[in-house]
């Protein structure tokens, strides 16, 4: 009986937390179909009193929404793919090969996770400008393609794979390239899914670095474009909500694709060693 009550209480708490988390999101989506006057009105309603698609229809007039959206998808996919691949290779090497200085290298990688971005951003900016990479997508891809977090996750995950399995493959004549691609990668899907979701989200919402590096409007990313709704004196909330609603779609798709393996992946990275 006590167990049932505890279970029900836990369920209620979780339900409330879920509602608290989801309601602002639902409110934002529904508000994207309201006029600015209704969004700022004294009497608030969840559903629009006067349904309008105006905020969506005028999105393109504020900035080249579709272009920015496409740019963000492109950069997020490229960086995510590169981070996954590089993290897996590094994780494989650091967990399954024995060589001098291995722990030192891993220590350095871990250290990169502990330095706040604000400390390195000025030197990084100067470096990339001096290298002539301003206004180039390479300036967004290069610094993001090696992820300390990703390498850490993959080292933990791949380290848990039985050495015997890899030895057996070697005995069967598989070279290291084949072992990595045919055995290690397929067996690390859970962690790869977790990294994919995290990395995609980080790139998708990154604002300052893309803003500093990209000058051309046709190369600019959506996170930067969204800030143009915040004017100096007022904010076009309707437009902002509409743009944000659409901008969430790719993140949702990525999550839906990887969600089954996401939790398992996070747990694997956290406990295995």
């Amino acid at each position: 009986m006590k167990r049932k009550i505890m279970g029900a209480a836990l369920f209620l708490v979780l339900l409330m937390m879920g509602v608290v988390t989801v309601v602002p999101f639902v409110w934002m989506v529904l508000s994207s179909f309201k006029t600015n006057a209704e969004i700022s009105a004294l009497e608030q309603t969840l559903l629009p009193k006067a349904f309008t698609l105006e905020n969506y229809a005028t999105l393109q007039s504020n900035f080249n929404f579709l272009r920015y959206f496409g740019n963000s998808v492109f950069i997020a996919l490229v960086v995510t793919a590169l981070v996954i691949y590089i993290s897996c290779i590094c994780g494989f090497v650091l967990s399954k090969y024995q060589f001098k200085g291995k722990n030192l290298i891993f220590g350095f990688i871990m250290m990169t996770m502990m330095i706040p971005w604000s400390v390195t951003i000025i030197s990084r900016y100067t470096m990339f400008v001096d290298a002539g990479l301003q206004d180039s997508y390479l300036s967004l891809i290069l610094p993001a393609m090696v992820s300390g977090f990703g390498i850490f996750m993959m080292k933990q995950d791949i380290g848990a794979l039985p050495d015997e399995l890899l030895e057996a493959a070697r005995m069967d004549g598989a070279n290291e390239f084949a072992i990595f691609h045919k055995i290690v990668l397929p067996m690390s899907k859970n962690s790869i899914s977790a990294i994919a979701i995290f990395q995609f989200l980080w790139v998708w919402e990154d604002y300052l670095w893309p803003y500093l590096m990209i000058d051309s409007e046709e190369k600019q990313l959506l996170a930067v474009g969204l800030t143009t709704f915040n004017g100096r004196y007022s904010t076009d909330y309707g437009g902002l909500f509409a743009a944000t609603t659409i901008s969430i779609i790719p993140v949702l798709i990525i999550y839906i694709i990887f969600q089954k393996r996401f939790v398992a992946g996070v747990a694997a990275g956290a406990v295995k060693g």
């Binding site: 600015n36 700022s40 009105a41 590169l82 691949y85 000058d215 004196y233 007022s234």
Partner: protein, 460 residues
């Protein structure tokens, strides 16, 4: 099969990466053509600052300028288009930025010398940040002052690096429906603060001891009123050295007392009646608010259905030292490290900008600014805008204290909270704010422009 799929995916990523990295900037204007025709057959523009389009820029050779701005890319783009139509060898690429990040990115970009933007929009509060990178306008100072009534306040070491195309200040905005419901007419527009308080009482509605309509709501604007109204008493905010403030003058204390009395004695508003007067006005809860010109745009965006008017800020005497302070919206700055070709084109464009009243009119209409150009002062179309019309009669009698550091507003806001919410003594609270601001100002290279005001030295 899987291997092929992986390979194809990786190849696609690679191709896209390379393609993306080397993509042409498709949205930008193509490079200008060679211009061989100096005589465009166009009329000379302007009054004192004139622009004769009938000449070649950069000997007609192609030159490209980047123009950075934070707002209205279409409007500024039209100006650039108009100029490029006259000088097809000049290409002006508009780069729009979000306001929040603009002041981080622009100084960094200007450090790149001629690779940085040639033209960039300026806000006077960031003058200290941009001045080291700015080239002075190649325009006669006297001519500038003949055409622009605020130009004198932007003279730095005998040169002008930017000036105002329009100015913005405070006015009282009132809800027309509530005004009529209270039996008020145009004849009741108050001229003095005493009259204003009486009108506000008529506009206030209290039901069952609860305020349902504020006659006047200044929540969120106490500090703005405190940094404007005291001029009416004849005092200035800055002391004679123009580098330290005085918040304990007669005007400051009387203004603070008056504002507090409006709520506590007259009961025409309340500090507990919401924190944002603008929102309260838009939601039809407040009959009058004190706002600056940008309120016109705010209302159009958020509350287009509210019918409202505006009138000039009331005064304490018939001929005050100054009605209020104003702030200007600036013309673009020129990158002093631009290449000679870019510099020539940029200077030519600025002259085109300043001599072209049509451009300035569009800008002022867009931002609800009173035009700085004397030629536009009585433009009937502009005076249809209530924000512009309200300040038009005495615009010369508004003072510009200079690009005020944010510490003044920030600390006055804290003082306002202490006075209104914590019931702290006015004199002591203002003295505390004054001390903090002066410590901050000691660490900032700032000199007020109050002494450039034409009535300076005639204070009461």
């Amino acid at each position: 099969m899987k291997k092929k799929l992986w390979t194809a995916c990786l190849a696609a990523v690679l191709v896209l990466t390379l393609g993306g990295c080397s993509a042409e900037t498709a949205g930008q204007h193509p490079e200008g053509v060679v211009d061989t025709e100096p005589d465009k057959g166009l009329e000379v523009m302007g009054n004192h600052v004139t622009y004769d389009p009938n000449h070649l820029v950069n000997d007609g050779q192609p030159v490209t300028l980047e123009w950075w701005l934070w707002d209205a890319p279409d409007l500024f783009g039209q100006m650039a288009e108009a100029y490029m139509e006259i000088h097809p060898n000049v290409t002006i690429n508009i780069i729009n930025n979000p306001w929040d990040g603009f002041w981080t990115k622009l100084p960094l970009a200007l450090q790149k010398g001629e690779k940085g933007p040639t033209l960039f929009n300026v806000h006077n509060s960031y003058q200290h940040l941009l001045l080291p990178y700015m080239a002075p306008y190649d325009i006669d100072l006297d001519q500038m002052q003949e055409d622009f009534f605020t130009a004198a306040s932007h003279v730095i070491d005998g040169q002008i690096y930017y000036t105002d195309f329009g100015v913005m200040t405070g006015a009282i905005y009132y809800n027309k429906e509530m005004w009529a419901a209270a039996g008020l007419t145009q004849e009741d527009i108050p001229k003095t603060w005493d009259e204003f308080r009486e009108v506000a009482k008529k506009l206030t509605i209290v039901e069952d001891g609860k305020m349902v309509q504020a006659g006047f709501n200044y929540n969120g604007d106490f500090q703005n009123l405190m940094l404007g109204v005291p001029y009416q008493y004849g005092g200035t905010i800055f002391k004679e050295d123009m580098q330290t403030v005085s918040f304990t003058g007669e005007g400051m204390i009387k203004t603070a007392k008056m504002l507090k009395d409006m709520y506590r004695v007259d009961g025409i508003g309340s500090e507990d009646f919401g924190t944002d007067a603008a929102q309260s006005f838009g939601q039809g809860q407040s009959a009058m608010v004190y706002k600056w010109g940008h309120f016109y745009g705010y209302m159009n965006t958020n509350y287009p259905d509210i019918e409202y008017g505006a009138f000039e800020i009331p005064t304490v005497t018939e001929n005050p030292f100054a009605y209020d302070r104003y702030n200007g919206e600036a013309t673009p700055g020129i990158n002093k490290n631009a290449s000679p070709a870019q510099m020539e084109a940029a200077q030519d464009f600025i002259r085109f900008y300043l001599a072209n009243t049509r451009i300035q009119k569009e800008l002022c209409m867009y931002y609800s600014l009173f035009p700085a150009s004397n030629a536009l002062r009585d433009d009937p179309e502009m005076l249809e805008n209530p924000a512009i019309a309200a300040v038009s009669e005495h615009i010369e009698d508004y003072i510009w204290p200079g690009p005020m550091p944010s510490t003044l507003e920030d600390n006055m806001k804290i003082a306002a909270q202490d006075i209104m919410y914590n019931d702290k003594e006015i004199e002591k609270t203002l003295k505390t704010a004054e001390d903090i601001v002066n410590v901050d100002l000691a660490n900032i290279d700032f000199t007020s422009a109050e002494n450039l005001y034409y009535k300076y030295g005639q204070e009461g």
